[in-house]
């Protein structure tokens, strides 16, 4: 749902369950429960995804992670205006890059916060 909201929807596509109830689920209401249950599952996902986007927390974390490409030498790389010679000069001048954590567990925990 997060992916679909971020791209502004799926029109004219849609969600096709492409599902069937298990062979042993033979009651008529099994069909009802299966469809309603799956729709509710996505509805919960949609509400959580909308909250994630509205809070801007996770998007902000990702944007911050790439922020060195928003200006300076990084922006020049993105504009296609840099070169290996310039980057070498930058690396020699700047020394060892800072070790920046990928913070995987923080991202996972943040995602878990929305439910």
């Amino acid at each position: 749902m997060l992916i679909l909201l971020r791209q502004g929807g799926l029109d004219p596509g849609g969600l096709n369950f492409d599902c069937k109830v298990r062979r042993e689920s033979t009651n008529l209401d099994d069909m009802f429960i299966a469809h309603i249950g799956a729709m509710d599952t996505f509805a919960r996902g949609l509400k959580a995804a909308a909250a994630i986007i509205a809070d801007k927390v996770m998007d902000g974390m990702v944007a911050e992670r790439y922020s060195t490409f928003d200006s300076g030498i990084g922006a020049k790389v993105e504009e296609g205006k840099s070169s290996f010679a310039e980057l070498e000069e930058f690396a020699l001048k700047s020394g060892e890059p800072e070790k920046k954590s990928g913070q995987q567990e923080l991202y996972e925990m943040t995602l878990n916060y929305y439910c």
Binding site: R65, T68, G74, G80, A85
Partner: protein
């Protein structure tokens, strides 16, 4: 030098992290490659390819050409620049990019499109630098689906060819296929060889084999005549 094949991985001949590492390693690389050149002339051994290690050091733990930190990206560029120059000096006929950490451990913290844009920018600058130094070697990308990262962008031959076409790099790159990586991608051993060859992208081969059951890269010597036949 790697044993068993005339290819040079700079991590095998340069010591690990130190202050002013880049300056020191470049100086050591110059000195050692002088020696390698003497030995090449003595023995007649030619250099199949050179490559740079952008995956062992912590400075590349989040990638080289796809590192979210522009400083690390610049460091990767500096390393590849030097390694290309040394490969040219040693008469290397190919230059390999194996993107061991050009991928992600979790997609949650990753801007995939931005990372691939950066990787393409990196390769375009490599093409430019190759022209600048007058090198004639062929650029090769070595696909692998994962390990050490959870997902590697150069997943398999078709994915990598799609990337090259998408960014207009198809005329400057071919593929270095390692069938052991092909099986890790869930294909038959010979699949990527066939596909790359049929599209004119087969440039070189890491001719090892893996174990069909263990599920990781074992780099074993090839002893299966049936596979070698294909």
């Amino acid at each position: 030098m790697q044993y068993g094949k005339p290819a040079a991985n700079e991590a095998n001949i340069i010591p690990p992290n130190s202050v002013d590492w880049l300056l020191q390693s470049n100086a050591i690389f110059d000195e050692i490659s002088d020696y390698l050149l003497v030995k090449q002339k003595e023995t007649g051994v030619k250099l199949l390819w050179g490559t740079s290690n952008l995956f062992s050091s912590t400075r590349f733990m989040n990638g080289g050409a796809t590192n979210p930190n522009a400083h690390s990206f610049a460091f990767a560029a500096a390393k590849v620049k030097k390694c290309m120059e040394i490969t040219h000096k040693l008469g290397g006929v190919n230059y390999v990019f194996w993107g061991g950490r050009e991928g992600y451990q979790t997609i949650l913290n990753t801007d995939v499109k931005r990372e691939l844009d950066h990787m393409a920018a990196f390769f375009k600058m490599a093409i430019e630098h190759k022209k600048n130094i007058g090198a004639g070697f062929q650029f090769l990308i070595e696909p692998k689906p994962r390990e050490p990262t959870k997902h590697q962008y150069d997943y398999d031959a078709q994915t990598t060819m799609g990337f090259l076409q998408n960014y207009g790099l198809q005329n400057d790159f071919k593929l270095n296929i390692e069938p052991n990586h092909t099986t890790l991608a869930g294909h038959d051993y010979e699949h990527d060889m066939w596909v790359a060859s049929q599209y004119g992208f087969l440039g070189s081969v890491d001719s090892n084999t893996g174990d069909p059951l263990v599920g990781w890269d074992t780099d074993q010597f090839p002893m299966d005549g049936e596979r070698a036949k294909q």
